[in-house]
C-alpha cells in the first residue's frame, strides 16, 4: 500500500523548545490512523507541519509524496482539516462559514449536490447554522469545522481532537461519518485523547511522547507489548515459592493476595508455575488500552522512563490478548 503521509526524523524547534524531536509517522492509503500522545507531545505541531502552516526545522515530511511546505495550495485541494481549537469569525454565521470553507476548497461547485450533503450533515449533527460565530458553544463551533470537513469529499482528513466538546450522541454521529468517509476510500489521521474512539475507529495507531514516536502498530500489536496483571491468594505460600515464579515483575503481597505483572508474551511458563503451586482465587487481567496509554504517558512524567519501554518488535504472542480480554470480560 502507498504511504499517504510519510514523516522521517522530523524536528521542530520553537526558540529553545524542541517541540518535535525525531518523529516518524507513516499513514497508509485508506487507513484510519490514530495519533496519540500526552498534552504537549507535539501532535498539533506535527499536524501543522503536514498542512504547511509550519515549517519543519529538519527531517522530512511528505503528504501524497509532496512537500506540504512548498505545495500547500495543491495539497489542500485534497485535504479536509479540523483544527484543535476551532475559532470562528464572530459576526459570520455557522452556515456561512461552512459555505465559505467549502467554496475555498472548490467543493461547492455542484450547487444542488453540495446543498443536499450540507443539509444531511446539518441534520445529522443537529446543528443550527443561523447563529453568529460568537454565539456558538464549544461543541457547536466544533460542528462547524466537522461539517465543513465532511461536506466536501477529501482524499485525506486531518483531524486534531475533532470530538473535543461533543456530547456522546454527536460523538457517535462523528464515528458514523468517519466510517462513511473511510468507506469511500478517504485516509484519516485522527489525533485524539478519547481511547474508546480510537479503539472503535482506528486501524493503526502511533503514540508519540516528547516529540518522538514511542509506539506504532495495530492495537493488537500494541497490546502484546504491555504486561498482564496476575493475582491470587497468598496464604500457605512461602516467600521462596513466590519468588520462584519465572518472569514475575513487581511482586507484591497485600491484603492476603499476591500480585505481579508479566510480559504478555511470557505468560505460558508463568501459568505452569502457578499450576504447580496450586494457587487459589487466581485472576488474570489483560492489559486494557488505558493501561497501555497510562504506561506511555506516565513514563514521560517519570522522566527518562527507566528503560522500561518495550521496543516495537512484536514477537509471536503466547496468548492472544484479544482472546484473553474476551475471556476475561465474560
Amino acid at each position: 500500500m502507498n504511504a499517504v503521509i510519510e514523516v522521517r526524523a522530523l524536528e521542530k524547534r520553537y526558540g529553545r523548545v524542541l517541540a518535535l524531536n525525531g518523529l516518524d509517522l507513516d499513514v497508509a492509503d485508506g487507513e484510519v490512523h490514530g495519533f496519540l500522545g500526552p498534552n504537549g507531545a507535539g501532535k498539533s505541531t506535527t499536524i501543522r507541519i503536514l498542512l504547511g502552516l509550519a515549517r519543519a526545522t529538519s527531517g522530512r515530511a511528505t503528504v501524497f509524496g509532496r512537500d506540504p511546505w512548498t505545495d500547500a495550495k495543491d495539497l489542500h485541494r485534497r485535504i479536509g482539516y479540523v483544527p484543535g481549537d476551532v475559532n470562528l469569525w464572530p459576526n459570520i454565521s455557522g452556515g456561512e462559514a461552512i459555505d465559505l470553507i467549502s467554496r475555498l476548497r472548490g467543493g461547492a461547485a455542484d450547487k444542488a449536490a453540495y446543498a443536499a450533503r450540507k443539509r444531511r450533515l446539518v441534520e445529522a449533527f443537529q446543528f443550527d447554522p443561523t447563529k453568529k460565530g460568537r454565539a456558538y458553544s464549544k461543541g457547536n463551533r466544533q460542528k462547524v469545522a466537522l461539517i465543513a470537513a465532511f461536506v466536501t469529499r477529501a482524499d485525506l482528513l486531518i483531524l486534531d481532537e475533532p470530538t473535543s466538546g461533543l456530547d456522546p450522541l454527536m460523538e457517535s454521529v462523528f464515528e458514523q461519518e468517519i466510517r462513511r468517509a473511510a468507506g469511500e476510500g478517504t485516509t484519516v489521521l485522527l489525533s485524539s485523547h478519547i481511547l474508546s474512539e480510537v479503539e472503535q475507529l482506528c486501524d493503526r495507531v502511533t503514540i508519540i511522547r516528547a516529540g518522538a514516536t514511542a509506539e506504532t502498530g495495530t492495537l493488537a500489536e500494541l497490546r502484546h507489548l504491555t504486561r498482564t496483571e496476575v493475582a491470587f491468594v497468598s496464604g500457605g505460600l512461602t516467600n521462596a515459592q513466590l519468588t520462584s515464579i519465572p518472569d514475575a515483575h513487581d511482586l507484591l503481597v497485600d491484603a492476603g493476595r499476591a500480585r505481579f505483572s508479566v510480559d504478555s508474551d511470557r505468560l505460558a511458563p508463568v501459568l505452569s508455575a502457578l499450576g504447580a503451586l496450586d494457587v487459589q482465587g487466581l485472576t488474570i487481567a489483560p492489559p486494557s488500552l488505558e493501561e497501555l496509554f497510562l504506561r506511555h504517558y506516565g513514563e514521560q512524567l517519570d522522566g527518562a522512563g527507566a528503560g522500561a519501554a518495550p521496543t516495537g518488535d512484536a514477537s509471536a504472542p503466547a496468548v492472544s490478548p484479544r482472546h484473553a480480554e474476551g475471556a476475561n470480560r465474560r
Binding site: 509550519a54 500547500a72 495543491d74 469569525w89 454565521s93 475555498l104 476548497r105 472548490g106 460568537r134
Partner: protein
C-alpha cells in the same frame, strides 16, 4: 478589598508600559510646546499678528483652539491644549474598553466573574485604574507646562482640565462597552465620540464671536463637547474650574448608567441584541478577498464617514473664509505666507482639511493590515490557509483590500468636499483641484500599507502595537514637529511631512513619488518574505 487590590494590580501590570508612553508622551508634548513657543514666538508683536490671522481663519481655529489674548502662556494654551485633552480622551477610551468589553469578549472575564471578585468588582477596578491614570496624565501636563516656564496656577488648571476630559471619556468608553458586543465596536463608537467632541469644539471655535482684539468666545457647538468644556477653563487668563462641573456631571451620569446596565445584563452579553445570521453564504463569501471585505466593510465605512465629515467642513467653512478675506485683503496675504504658497484661501483651507483626511486614510490602511494579524492570532486565518489559498495570495488579498479602503476614504471625502464647495458657490477651487488634493494623500497612506505589511511578515507579534505607534508618531511629528521646534531630519521621519500640498500651479510631487516607490518596495519585500513565513498563532 483584597480582591479589588488584586484586580488593580493586574491592570497596572498589564498597562504599565502602554500608560507610561501615553502619559510620558503627553507630558513631553506639553513641555516641548511650552519651551518651543517661548523661543519661536517670544516676540509679543509676532504673537499678536498670528492670533489676528487665526481669528480670521476658521481652519486654524479648528486645528488649534480658542484665542484668549496675546499673552505668552495663553498663546501656548491656544496652540496645544485641545491636543493634550484629545490624547487623554483617547488613552481613556482604549483603557476602558480594554479592561471591560475586550475581557468579556475573550472569555477571560468569565474566569474572574466566577471568583469571589464577581461581575461588578472588575468594573470598579477599571474605574479606579482609569481615574488614577487620568490623575497621572493631568499631573504630567501640569509638570510639563510648569517646567516649560508657564504660570503655575494656570498650568494646574490645564492639568485638572486634562484629567477631567480623560475621566469623561473613561466613562463614555465604559458605557460604549456596555452597549456594544465586541471590543472593536466599542472602541469604534468611543473613538467616534472623541472625534465628534473634537470637531464640535472646533466648529464652535471657528464660529466664535470676538470679545476683544485678540480673543474669541466660542459658539454653542463647543458647549456640547467635553473638550470644549475643558478649553473653557481658559487657563492662564480666567483660570476658572466652573465649566468642569459639566464634565463631572456627565462622567457621574455615565458611571451610574454603567453600573445599572452591568447589573441587569449577563456577562458577555450586550444591550444591542444579536441578530440571526443567514443559513448559507451570499456570493461575497466565495474567496479570501470576499471574506476580507465582509470582515472590514463596516470599518471602512466608518473611516469614510469621518473623511466625508472633513470634506463637508472644508466646503462649508470656505464661504466663511471668503467673507472674511473680502473684508480684509491682508488676511489672505498673511495666510499665504504661513502656508508658503500662492494658493487661494479656500485652497489653503482644503489642503489643511485634507491633511486630516490623509491621516484617516493612513489609519484605515493600518487597520486593514492589523486585521490580518488579528485573524492570524485568533486562529481563523488557519481555516482559510488550510484551504487552497496560499499564504502569499492571502496577504495580497488583504493589501488590495487596504488599497481599496484608502481609495474609498479619499474618494468619499473628495466627493463631499467638491459637492459642498459647489453648493457654497465658491468657484476658486474646482473639483479637479479637490480630487488632486485627495490624491496627494495617497502616497503617505501607501507607506503605512507597505511598512505595516512588512512588519506583519517580519514581527507579527509586535506589529499591532508598532502599527498604531507608527500612526501616532507620524501624526505628532508631522503636525507638531514645526510647532515644537523639532529638527527637520526628525520631521522627515513622518510620511505626512512629505505629502504634497496643492495650493497653486506649481506643486512639488517628488515626495509623493518617493513614498510610492518605498511603499512598492516594502510590499514587494513582504510578498517575497511571506513565502518563507510560518502561520504564527498567538
Amino acid at each position: 478589598m483584597s480582591e479589588l487590590a488584586a484586580l488593580l494590580r493586574q491592570r497596572i501590570r498589564r498597562d504599565r508600559l502602554q500608560l507610561f508612553f501615553w502619559i510620558g508622551g503627553t507630558a513631553l508634548l506639553a513641555l516641548f510646546a511650552a519651551t518651543a513657543v517661548a523661543t519661536t514666538y517670544g516676540n509679543a508683536a509676532e504673537r499678536d499678528q498670528i492670533l489676528a490671522l487665526a481669528i480670521q481663519s476658521p481652519a486654524i481655529l479648528i486645528l488649534r483652539g480658542l484665542p484668549q489674548g496675546g499673552g505668552l502662556d495663553a498663546f501656548v494654551f491656544f496652540e496645544i491644549f485641545t491636543y493634550l485633552a484629545l490624547l487623554a480622551a483617547m488613552m481613556s477610551t482604549f483603557l476602558a474598553v480594554r479592561h471591560t468589553r475586550a475581557e468579556e469578549e475573550s472569555g477571560r472575564a468569565e474566569l474572574i466573574g466566577s471568583t469571589p471578585a464577581g461581575r461588578t468588582l472588575p468594573t470598579v477596578a477599571t474605574l479606579v485604574h482609569g481615574v488614577s491614570a487620568n490623575i497621572l496624565i493631568g499631573l504630567g501636563v501640569f509638570a510639563g507646562l510648569a517646567l516649560g516656564g508657564m504660570a503655575v496656577d494656570g498650568s494646574l488648571i490645564a492639568g485638572v482640565a486634562t484629567t477631567a476630559t480623560g475621566i469623561v471619556f473613561l466613562a463614555i468608553g465604559m458605557l460604549a462597552a456596555q452597549f456594544m458586543r465586541t471590543s472593536r465596536g466599542a472602541n469604534g463608537l468611543a473613538v467616534a465620540l472623541v472625534g465628534l467632541a473634537f470637531l464640535l469644539r472646533g466648529v464652535g471655535d471657528a464660529l466664535g464671536t470676538r470679545t476683544g482684539p485678540l480673543s474669541l468666545a466660542s459658539a454653542w457647538p463647543s458647549w456640547l463637547s467635553p473638550i470644549g468644556w475643558a478649553q473653557h477653563t481658559a487657563a492662564y487668563t480666567e483660570n476658572t474650574l466652573a465649566p468642569l462641573l459639566l464634565s463631572a456631571t456627565l462622567a457621574v451620569l455615565c458611571f451610574v448608567a454603567v453600573f445599572v446596565l452591568q447589573g441587569v445584563r449577563d456577562s458577555g452579553a450586550s444591550l444591542i441584541p444579536e441578530r440571526r445570521g443567514r443559513a448559507s453564504a451570499g456570493a461575497t463569501l466565495s474567496s479570501s478577498f470576499g471574506l476580507a471585505w465582509r470582515l472590514q466593510w463596516g470599518t471602512i465605512l466608518g473611516w469614510s464617514v469621518g473623511g466625508a465629515a472633513f470634506g463637508l467642513l472644508a466646503g462649508t467653512l470656505s464661504s466663511l473664509v471668503q467673507q472674511a478675506a473680502a473684508s480684509d485683503p491682508s488676511i489672505q496675504q498673511s495666510l499665504q505666507s504661513i502656508v508658503g504658497s500662492a494658493g487661494s484661501m479656500t485652497q489653503t483651507l482644503v489642503a489643511a482639511m485634507f491633511s486630516f483626511v490623509g491621516v484617516l486614510a493612513a489609519a484605515c490602511a493600518t487597520q486593514a493590515v492589523i486585521r490580518m494579524r488579528q485573524e492570524e492570532a485568533l486562529g481563523t486565518a488557519e481555516l482559510v490557509l488550510s484551504s487552497p489559498v496560499s499564504r502569499v495570495r492571502w496577504l495580497v488579498d488583504y493589501l488590495v483590500l487596504g488599497l481599496v479602503a484608502i481609495a474609498i476614504v479619499l474618494a468619499a471625502s473628495a466627493g463631499v468636499a467638491a459637492l459642498s464647495l459647489a453648493a457654497s458657490g465658491d468657484g476658486s477651487v474646482g473639483a479637479g483641484d479637490v480630487f488632486a488634493t485627495a490624491a496627494a494623500q495617497l502616497p503617505a497612506a501607501l507607506i503605512y500599507l507597505g511598512v505595516l505589511s512588512l512588519l506583519f511578515v517580519l514581527v507579527p507579534k509586535a506589529m499591532i502595537a508598532a502599527g498604531w505607534a507608527f500612526v501616532a508618531v507620524g501624526v505628532v511629528v508631522g503636525n507638531f514637529g514645526g510647532l515644537i521646534g523639532m529638527p527637520q531630519w526628525l520631521r522627515d521621519v513622518s510620511p505626512f511631512t512629505h505629502t504634497p500640498v496643492i495650493t497653486g500651479s506649481t506643486t512639488d510631487w517628488s515626495g509623493a513619488v518617493w513614498m510610492a516607490a518605498i511603499a512598492l518596495v516594502a510590499v514587494g519585500a513582504s510578498v517575497v518574505l511571506m513565502r518563507r513565513r510560518e502561520v504564527s498563532t498567538a
